[in-house]
């Protein structure tokens, strides 16, 4: 008896975390999935109602705006973060004397919450006293900057704040990647007569493929989940012009009390994330098994 306890101890110790994750992650996702096929309003009801909620979702203007916004945001956020991150990482990797300080500056926004970030940028982008006034004071008298209250432009303010928060992180990923490259490869390229540009373009950047992949996954993941930043910066406004799926989901559930519709939107988000994450996990695992 005691012996079998001793033998199974590892599994017993593992049980709580496996149990908790099974219930609170997988169980809950299944529950949400199920509810999305019901007609639950303020309280969950368990009679199946078919795919009606999904049909309704894709017929809701606000959701379509949210998806549009998500696409715009994701593409810009991704491209700008990666470009800034790669450039900063490569530049910092040139034996810069003040590297430590610069790195600290580039990365500190990552320590701040999206609410703090949003609050700060909301003030900076403020149409009367913010950046607009700064430029007017500098002599650009006709300068206007009203993106925050402009339906067509407000989504870009979220990109500005999001990029500010996350591009340092991409820089850190790439810097770590660059530092893991063997010295000798760069030396060999120098002897081969490659210019600094060629060394990066032809040799180092192709070697960074896994880092690009990782940054892509992490950033897409952040953007699909983005919620706090919008709440703090625009609350989805003006009107509903900056709504995103995560905001749609909580508003539908907790303000509009349409639990099933909200569950359907949550499942759409889940599927979007899964479409990015599962190939990623698969490749990561394969790489680990190879090495």
């Amino acid at each position: 008896m005691f012996k079998s306890l001793e033998k199974n101890l590892p599994k017993i110790v593992l049980a709580p975390s496996v149990g908790l994750i099974s219930w609170f992650v997988y169980g809950f996702i299944l529950w949400t999935f199920y509810i999305s096929f019901t007609n639950s309003k303020i309280l969950p009801r368990y009679e199946l109602w078919g795919v009606g909620q999904y049909a309704k979702l894709w017929g809701t203007r606000k959701w379509l705006i949210a998806v549009d916004n998500l696409l715009i945001f994701t593409v810009l956020f991704l491209v700008i973060c990666i470009v800034i991150g790669v450039v900063l990482a490569i530049f910092l990797d040139q034996k810069i004397r003040t590297e430590g300080i610069l790195r600290t500056i580039y990365l500190y926004p990552m320590a701040l919450s999206f609410i703090v970030t949003g609050t700060a940028w909301k003030w900076i982008l403020n149409p009367t006293l913010g950046i607009e006034k700064l430029f007017v004071d500098m002599g650009f008298e006709n300068f206007t900057f009203d993106w925050l209250v402009n339906r067509d432009m407000a989504i870009y303010t979220i990109v500005i704040a999001g990029v500010w928060q996350s591009s340092g992180f991409v820089m850190a990923l790439f810097l770590a990647g660059l530092r893991s490259i063997e010295d000798e490869i760069v030396k060999a390229a120098k002897i081969d007569g490659a210019s600094l540009f060629t060394v990066y373009w032809k040799i180092i950047i192709p070697m960074m493929r896994p880092v690009f992949f990782t940054s892509f996954v992490v950033l897409v993941h952040i953007s699909i989940k983005s919620y706090d930043l919008i709440v703090a910066l625009t609350q989805g406004g003006p009107g509903i012009s900056t709504t995103m799926p995560a905001l749609f989901m909580t508003q539908t559930a907790f303000h509009k009390s349409q639990v099933a519709l909200s569950a359907a939107s949550a499942m759409m988000m889940f599927m979007a994330v899964a479409a990015v994450i599962i190939p990623y996990l698969y490749s990561e695992l394969r790489r680990e098994n190879v090495s």
Binding site: S17, V18, S22, V25, L102, V231, L281
Partner: protein
């Protein structure tokens, strides 16, 4: 031969020296430019928080305050003292502390144990268990928000610090497991074998051998969890309101609810207060913070 080679070598030397110099200047220019972009909001927050509203209206984002006016900081932290409707951060700051400390502890501890089993007591299918847990790092929390709200209600801990501790402890496990598992994988199994031959059992090996050499990863994990939980808004805003809210929720409410006149100086002081603990951690233990970001978030 050597005369002409001399000349061409000389040319090459000169050319490479000049391009190097230009490149260097360009490099520093870009790096410093971005440094300004990143530091700009922090600077604006700081100077604004020390200005009076009059100064804010008169000047612009960059102008310095006439004198250090700490009034807005006092208001942000302790309110104006007129009772109802007077929101200030102090109680919520302590709410967040009460939430972060136990949740960080529990999730770190469970993650350490789980990582230990998954690397040092391997069994058939253990990598599937790891994958099973790892997936929890990636889910959009919207997919578990509704049932979690109901569960907390049924357990009678919705709208309480305890509820948030439970939520954060559970959803932290995938991350903490990932950290510890990746760390323990790099510790040679011979160490465990030697300990077993010396007669140490499951728990003894963990507490006497692994934990003492786990300091770096414990620091990384604690910092990661602390930052994540402190900065969380979604769970806080969904599962708590009123007096049980954590600081990020309170900050957001304060900024949104200013009724008649927007007090940007108080907003900025509040934002700095809410960001202060994580910023301090970052400044003091940046190395571990970054290691967490790049190793954990490489996968999470």
């Amino acid at each position: 031969m050597s005369a002409s080679t001399n000349i061409s070598y000389q040319k090459l030397e000169d050319r490479s020296r000049i391009t190097n110099l230009l490149l260097r200047w360009f490099l520093y220019f870009v790096l410093v430019l971005f440094a300004f972009y990143f530091i700009f909001p922090l600077y604006v927050m700081l100077v604004t928080s020390f200005k009076t509203m009059e100064e804010i209206r008169q000047g612009n984002l960059l102008t310095l305050p006439g004198q250090l006016n700490i009034e807005s900081w006092a208001v942000a932290w302790g309110g104006r003292g007129y009772g109802a409707g007077d929101t200030y951060l102090r109680p919520y700051f302590w709410n967040s502390i009460k939430m972060v400390v136990p949740a960080t502890f529990f999730s770190t501890f469970i993650g350490a144990m789980t990582g230990y089993v998954l690397t040092k007591w391997r069994f058939k299918g253990d990598s599937w268990v790891f994958l099973f847990l790892l997936f929890g790092c990636f889910i959009p929390y919207q997919a578990i928000l509704l049932p979690m709200a109901r569960t907390l209600g049924i357990l009678g801990i919705s709208n309480s610090i305890l509820g948030l501790v439970v939520v954060h402890s559970i959803y932290g496990i995938p991350f903490t497991t990932l950290f510890f598992r990746n760390y323990y994988v790099s510790i040679p199994n011979e160490l465990i074998k030697a300990a077993r031959i010396d007669g140490a059992g499951f728990f003894k090996i963990f507490f006497k051998i692994l934990i003492p050499i786990s300091a770096p990863i414990i620091v990384v994990t604690v910092i990661w969890q602390f930052t994540q939980i402190w900065n969380d808004f979604l769970f806080g805003a969904t599962f708590s309101f009123g007096t049980a809210a954590p600081i990020q929720v309170a900050l957001n409410n304060m900024v949104l609810s200013s009724t008649s006149v927007k007090e940007y100086n108080v907003d900025m002081a509040s934002a700095i207060i809410a960001g202060f603990p994580t910023l301090i951690v970052y400044v003091l233990a940046g190395k571990y913070f970054i290691r967490g970001l790049t190793s954990g978030a490489v996968k999470g």
